[in-house]
Subunit: 356 residues, 4 copies
């Protein structure tokens, strides 16, 4: 019932604040006898951690994960897996300039209305730092999926749009995704995106982005009518990510440009097995996976912390202004790619354990 | 834990198949001492029920709801409220032509893969007929909201796009919504939509649609970090509706066309109270309501049941074709408007009871 | 989350009041393709229904169950199973004498404190009439268990004590249980119990009872550490039954009379398989089934509705007295036997579906 | 959904093994703005920790708790509270003698059957060491209760029976409970219990015990019909404690010795308020608190780890014998007293947050 938990069988809970002692994740429902150690998790964290390129924040966090429980002699025991990452620098820097102000576009005002207290250091609980633990949970989820289904299952996120600049799908090359600073499958667009980010920084502004996640090798039958449909659980999971304002499956909002004849995915038999002639539905029909690739997208709004001065108010209900110093992501959507991947992995792992 | 239930405090479960004896809804978590009878629910059902205009299906269902429990002497008792609607005509017509075929775009294939059995009569459990009970639950949710917050709270759905034809927001007149067959706030677009629907029918095709739901009068503070955010619960709730393929909040996917300067909702003080200079975030910040109007949209794909012949396969894995006879909605998005409203109402009621 | 629901995978919810239109049960999590019809359920209901002997209440209820959903062509579909029993006589008799009084020992006072409203007709929601639907759920649970494990699994309840009169375990004959009016395995004690009940009626009083439920054929491995142990779920399930005030597993409270040497269940190998030399732990070790018979007991307090006048108060906080007219059970524990059996069946079915 | 979690609103999850790096607890649902630091929790842990008297185990664990999240500037923030206790000595001693043997009466055999792997060092996850974190959660629960209700609420556990030796209730003096090594309210029985423990040790055996927990100052109205009754949640909570085999409320199993006339708690008006003339129902009617003291008891079986040799088998299905060396509790029921208290505190806190 905890609102800091997600998942029914494969479930995880996160805890911790951006400037507290540590952040952590408690994963339950992992079957026993799966090989697991920190090396299975760390590479995914390294993809998300700050300071990896000049196009993301320059802050430094090692994000070294430690497994505290649930693994014995290198294998999962079926008991809860507790993960911890100590925060490098938990000493509060000088927050006096923002201590009493609500940063617009952030959760500052709403947390204050809800709780009457807030940890103003870097957003506290509402900081995107929390998403590091989702990435860790996602790494464990992949191990579950590979054990239960097949280690050829792939869950891959990619950045497909920054600002108004969208990739050309014809240039999609999955091999490119981890060869640039943007998780971008279209190498031709990289110079444009580099310029966009550089310009946004100069302007004291920021940019939004769209991420696409594809999962291949997923069997038909995942998802639970009526209210735990695979797509509704995916929508929820992605919408919990900081700054996400929209989610779509398959053709998504583009469906409205199709008609019944063009949008229906016709079926045939191929090699003696059911096959589809298209995948407008993104691999999910009636809330249940069809065996096709699962395809979904989500949009991340432009980073709200910008260096340009904006109007706001303070906790004494006085009007004031604020501008964000420090080294924020000019496009927080970039580092959201491994987070989106992770949320799809945990959602699929959860439904696999419900179904098998 | 039932996957046919949604909500934590205000929770409801639905049951029943399109051609079974009845469909029903079990609502729990309704506080005691709220006046409630069938007349509070029926008007909402009448908005959704088939056969109301020539632009929706011509089937006939009375959709008369009956309260079986949880109300005593006209008031709720705090105990579960059981609602039932008997299906007018549960006798199976001749389904021999579709009994063994999978209708493409529907859940037929995936249900068969998951369950190994399916009620082929009109989709059985996967039929949109189930959404009638959501509308009923939404009516009860409104009573809860009005009692707990204020009876000036309004939750209003509107159709804003059919196919590629989108309303002009400048023509938005809420008073129009219930004066046409499309739940449309822009009266000028009505003739165009009438033509679109008529043409789609002639073409043996169908159209998609986008619905916008706005909730006003909602207090700040609703939503539970991190995984029961108000927007993630809304995303899940809307994505459970049949044929929905995308959900967005505030600017949604349009956020990607903004930048940090234009997208942030600046704050000021108005009449001594916190105020926002814009509502790009759709009334939700950090997953918690800000006190502004909550604004969300969802897309409904073109109806999959069309009279044009499509390729498909049957349960014996033979290739075949199918075309849908009968009187299906040419644009199922129209009747989805009251359903979307209802899902927002139940989600908000749930979060109000968690918060207050 | 509904508090009128129990179970995680095999879960059911009940609804309805003793004198409302109907009572019902919504079961979710039943796997598809299990044969099920009303005849699988009715015999269990007939064991619990009132008016079966002169030692229980003389009220008449047919308790005819009807399946409204979730079954197609005689088999379960994997979708929610809605069951309904219409109340024979929902017209309110004259309740003016008890309308405003709190019956001591009942939930009248506490419901009034909690809800500020109560259905005073026969206890409303707090009536033991609700347990009919548990018995129905239990019948469905048995079908699940038999399908998933083995149709030789047996779950058998028996009355082992009325008042201070306890059976002699040496006389235990399971074949007797359904041959007398008390679900008693010891035929020698029947005349004594008949006299006890007759005397309690004459005295305007009532008697308590202890029920034992045994489940055989249950595999090792059911139960989930740490907080969903099989025995803790059994304890909860049995304690939800009206008038139950204690639950124990295996030696239970008698364990305190043993010591470490005598109480430990030693192990050996028999026919090449693990075997136990005793079953003091009632088939559950560390919250997980051991493969031995599961043995548990619960106590039902003496019926609170008696014809002897008792002191109480009314809703106007005036002192008064009350005595119960009408035909109440002199020992409500008798009809609790099939209810206890059912709760064990549903709990085991739930854990089987979690484990397999 | 995690089976390592308990509670719906005030919920907590525990993790960790007896000989792993650490054990921990994640508490969610704690309202904001409650003063909390380690000093609020440590005293309760000190009551449970080993090595406090010669009548319990001589092992040494500091059990120093650390708060890792959810508290800011000395106050709760409304976000998850992560607690950790590092295990003093996580190096494995030589377990070769028990590595492959199933200790009878323990979870060794059942964990092996369920998971196919087990942490054999001191029981791993099934060790009573896990209960330390329950005690910590209980301390936080008390702060919630005191804040929400009244700091005069008291939840007090006491040992009332060791082996066959039961206290005399006439000698009950609450002030004695923390003045002896047994949490015993009856000082006269102390010498007898000292002899019993000493003798059990000499005999290479162990003893069972019964604990009573009373909660006073609890308002009427806590508990949720039908399946989250206060007493069924208490039964579940207590039955999750290691070695507990029975739970009862009020008169409990003793109810069977009463009759309807004597067992009903008659009501009157005292000082203008509802009052009861007795408390046979232990403060709970129809599953809802009545405003009287809540009284419950649970039995802890004799410690299964004894130095006398017992028959058992090993993982190769060979018969063997086992005797427990080391410093085990001769009566594990003693240290279960603060654990039982804690489980009542967390259960009550959970229901208070649901009700208020």
């Amino acid at each position: 019932m905890s609102s800091n938990s997600i998942g029914k069988i494969f479930s995880f809970s996160t805890w911790g604040e951006s400037h507290g002692k540590a952040i952590g994740c408690l994963i339950d429902g992992v079957p026993s006898n799966i090989e697991l150690n920190e090396k299975d998790i760390q590479p995914y964290l390294d993809l998300r951690k700050p300071g990896q390129s000049k196009y993301t924040t320059q802050r430094k966090e090692d994000d070294k994960v430690e497994i505290l429980s649930g693994v014995f002699e290198g294998k999962t025991t079926g008991h809860p897996i507790s993960l911890i990452i100590y925060n490098n620098d938990q000493r509060s820097k000088d927050y006096s300039d923002i201590k009493d102000k609500f940063r617009p576009g952030h959760a500052d005002f709403t947390y204050w209305k809800k709780y009457g207290i807030r940890d103003y250091r870097g957003g506290g609980r509402s900081s995107a730092r929390e998403t590091a633990m989702r990435v860790a949970a996602g790494a464990v989820a992949r191990k579950v999926i590979w054990k239960k289904i097949d280690n050829k299952v792939k869950i891959t996120g990619a950045l497909i749009q920054i600002g108004k600049s969208k990739i050309n799908y014809d240039n999609w090359n999955e091999g490119n995704i981890h060869k640039n600073d943007f998780f971008c499958p279209d190498e031709k667009i990289i110079p444009i995106w580099q310029d966009l980010i550089t310009q946004a920084r100069k302007d004291g502004s920021s940019l939004g982005a769209i991420i696409e996640v594809r999962a291949s090798g997923i069997p038909a039958g995942l998802g639970e009518p009526i209210y735990d449909k695979l797509d509704s659980d995916i929508a929820k999971a992605l919408m919990t990510i900081n700054a996400v304002k929209g989610v779509e499956i398959g053709n998504g909002f583009g469906s409205v440009n199709e008609n019944g004849k063009t949008n229906v995915d016709e079926m045939s038999i191929k090699d003696g097995k059911p096959a589809f002639l298209s995948n407008n539905n993104g691999g999910i029909l009636g809330g249940i996976s069809s065996g096709q690739d699962i395809i979904c997208r989500f949009v991340v709004k432009p980073t709200s912390s910008i260096s340009t001065e904006r109007k706001t108010i303070d906790i004494n209900l006085q009007e004031t202004t604020i501008s964000t110093k420090g080294r924020h992501d000019p496009c927080v959507g970039i580092r959201a790619v491994p987070v989106g991947e992770a949320m799809i992995a945990t959602t699929i792992a959860d439904h696999i354990l419900r179904f098998l």
